[in-house]
């Protein structure tokens, strides 16, 4: 289904300074029993957010009132492990629109963009700068400009460009959806199937 259009985002950030955050941490397997996409935000980072008596762990950034905003900033290799798209649904459902890291796992990156979340990959040094900035001033804001592919620490004016392929960029900006695109290609797909010839015994 078409998603909300992605415009420029200006927001405070929630920092999680941990590397290799895998999708089992983002949404543990025991919460994958639902058959719809709704409500996963409640269990985002469940086992880091709550202890075994279900009491919030105060020190975890999502529970720490001083942090807020629609930008999540995390250590490198974010979203590794399981391909569960539930991780992207949980992040979106919680209210994040951007995840910033110095490295993303491939499947997570696709899943995020397919759900209107922008993964912004920046250098290790700029990531550290953002972490340091938030440590100094939790109210410091970040601007993510998709059109110009630029991320800026507003207060210091420091910025860095980021990569995104132009097709995906257009999809996010216009709220387009890959399935709609593929449905428009059915004729070409049918032709491809017909012309493949005999060497494919895959029926």
């Amino acid at each position: 289904m078409p998603k909300d259009k992605f415009v420029k985002i200006l927001s405070r950030v929630v920092p999680i300074k941990i590397e290799n955050i895998d999708t089992d941490q983002i949404i543990p397997a025991r919460f994958l029993k639902a058959t719809s996409k709704d409500g996963f935000g409640d269990n985002l980072f469940r086992d880091w957010r709550y202890d075994n008596q279900n009491n919030p762990i105060a020190a975890f950034p999502l529970n720490d009132k001083k942090y807020a905003g629609s930008i999540l900033v995390a250590g490198k290799n974010f979203g590794c492990g399981s391909s569960r798209e539930h991780a992207a649904w949980a992040i979106e459902d919680y209210g994040f629109r951007v995840v910033v890291s110095s490295f993303f796992a491939d499947i997570f990156k696709n899943n995020a963009m397919n759900n209107g979340i922008l993964p912004v990959q920046i250098s290790d040094s700029f990531l550290l700068e953002i972490f340091n900035e938030v440590e100094k001033d939790v109210n410091s804001e970040i601007e993510v400009d998709l059109e110009n592919q630029k991320i800026t620490i507003v207060k210091t004016g420091k910025s860095e460009g980021f990569e995104i392929n132009s097709y995906k960029k257009q999809c996010l900006i216009n709220g387009y959806d890959d399935v709609d695109y593929l449905l428009s290609q059915k004729e070409a797909i049918g032709k491809f199937e017909k012309n493949r010839g005999e060497i494919f015994f895959y029926k």
Binding site: K17, N52, S82, A105, V179, E193, Y202
Partner: protein, 465 residues
């Protein structure tokens, strides 16, 4: 310039290339299971679109099912509903479905190959990251998210950017007691859990060629643990012999013709990879993990790396991982007492894995401090194990032999390891809480798991060989 095996398979499935964007990639076969598919069916329904090529999708229930009393209705309500939903969705959309108790049921990545669905030269996807397993046959196979499952339902295609290519060569001969699981854990310990991100890996070299099909699947299976989209191994006589006579593989003349085509599936000698690594088989020993990602591994006899060997940005994460595991930097794990042992999963739940465990536990008893269960990867594996009397060997050793499913690999069902307990596991992920909230996982080969079963402590399996 020559082409790599990966290029050959990928390029022959590209229908078109979007300017500055991904390729429209045709998918020959899709597997689905109960956990990641329901929202894709709903999406399709909301669009009012019907399934484009239902015969090219196959379904099995594996992630969220019990591993005992499978003839009874599933007790846990949400799980029962999820499995029922898969059955209904398959019926409604004309998809072949292997439900609980069906002779073809099992973990999706075990079932595909053993039934001959997985063939060289194919493109395959599944809403599960370990779809990389199927690359052992020379197919381009990778895990996808639910949105992409919906794309395949709607058009038999997905939009994908082409990954870069990496070649990992392992030459030489593996030592006694060193298995393909140790090979991939060794590679992981060298390249880290993100070392393969953005790449598709071709495995080559004499040590890889010498592996059985099942052992090759173990290597390709854990490619995703390197962050790679998938792994691929050129098909050869080992591959063709394995496929011959499999239920859904080509038969008779068609098989002969297929083999002629499959023989063309290899990297050209002048093909260029974006990155290459070479390892020596004789450097590899039985391996285990000590941390909370599969890249945190070492030789069984080694000590856990000390903090000064870790780069500064990673120190915090490293310390957090060791703290979670209850280990200290510099500590040796040999001789450390364990609690649980899980043998199973799409990494090491096949018949050869079970035979390896049996080869050590036969005529012995498991240690009293160990709670151990073996979960076969599929109904066919279960049947074969019983035919060979392996079930009796396990029972006599005090080890439970259960019914097929993913079980403690991801602990969605009841098979959870309690908080703080150590679980020696033949599965693929040692993330925090992967085997149950607070569980501590140590990844090993089936041989090592069997050695630990007998002594109750981390033990080098070569002591038993």
């Amino acid at each position: 310039m020559g082409k790599t095996l990966f290029d050959k398979v990928w390029d022959s499935h590209v229908i078109s290339q979007i300017d500055g964007g991904p390729s429209v990639l045709y998918i020959d076969r899709q597997f689905i299971h109960e956990v990641t598919s329901p929202q894709a069916f709903t999406g399709l329904e909301q669009r009012g679109v019907s399934l484009f090529r239902p015969s090219q999708t196959t379904a099995t229930a594996d992630h969220n099912i019990p591993t005992i009393d499978q003839h009874l209705p599933i007790k846990e309500q949400l799980s029962a509903f999820q499995v029922q939903k898969l059955k209904e969705n398959c019926e409604k959309n004309n998809i072949t479905y292997y439900g609980l108790g069906h002779e073809n049921n099992g973990i999706v990545h075990v079932v595909g190959p053993e039934l001959g669905y997985t063939l060289p030269g194919m493109t395959m996807v599944c809403g599960d990251s370990h779809t990389s397993t199927h690359g052992a046959f020379g197919s381009v196979a990778f895990g996808v998210g639910t949105s992409e499952i919906e794309m395949v339902f709607a058009s038999q295609c997905i939009l994908q950017p082409k990954p870069k290519k990496m070649k990992i060569t392992v030459d030489g001969k593996l030592g006694k007691g060193v298995t393909s699981k140790d090979v991939i854990l060794y590679i992981l310990s060298k390249l880290t859990a993100s070392g393969g991100t953005g790449y598709f890996i071709e495995y080559a070299g004499s040590a890889i060629e010498a592996l059985s099909m099942e052992a090759r699947m173990t290597v390709c299976n854990m490619s995703i643990e390197l962050g790679a989209r998938g792994g691929i191994i050129a098909p050869d006589e080992t591959t063709f012999n394995y496929l011959k006579g499999r239920k859904y593989a080509p038969q008779g003349d068609a098989f002969t013709k297929a083999v002629a085509f499959w023989k063309t599936l290899k990297s050209d000698s002048d093909a260029i990879f974006d990155t290459e690594f070479t390892f020596n088989a004789s450097d590899i020993e039985p391996m285990l993990t000590f941390g909370t990602n599969p890249g945190m591994g070492m030789k069984i006899s080694q000590s856990i790396p000390t903090l000064d060997t870790i780069d500064s940005a990673g120190k915090e994460t490293y310390s957090k991982a060791l703290e979670y595991m209850g280990f200290a930097p510099g500590e040796k794990l040999l001789g450390k007492t364990m609690d649980y042992i899980f043998v199973g999963s799409c990494t090491n739940g096949r018949i050869e894995d079970l035979r390896e465990v049996a080869s050590i536990v036969k005529g012995r008893k498991k240690a009293d401090n160990i709670y151990m269960y073996i979960v076969p990867g599929s109904k066919l594996v279960e049947k074969q194990a019983i035919a060979e009397g392996l079930d009796k060997i396990f029972e006599a050793a005090g080890i439970q032999f259960r019914q097929p499913g993913c079980s403690s690999c991801l602990a969605m069902n009841e098979d959870k390891v309690p908080k703080g307990k150590y679980c020696v596991s033949t599965s693929n992920r040692n993330f925090e809480g992967r085997q149950g909230p607070g569980s501590r996982t140590i990844l090993v080969s089936p041989l090592t798991a069997a050695a630990v079963a007998i002594t109750g402590k981390i033990t080098d399996p070569r002591e038993f060989l």
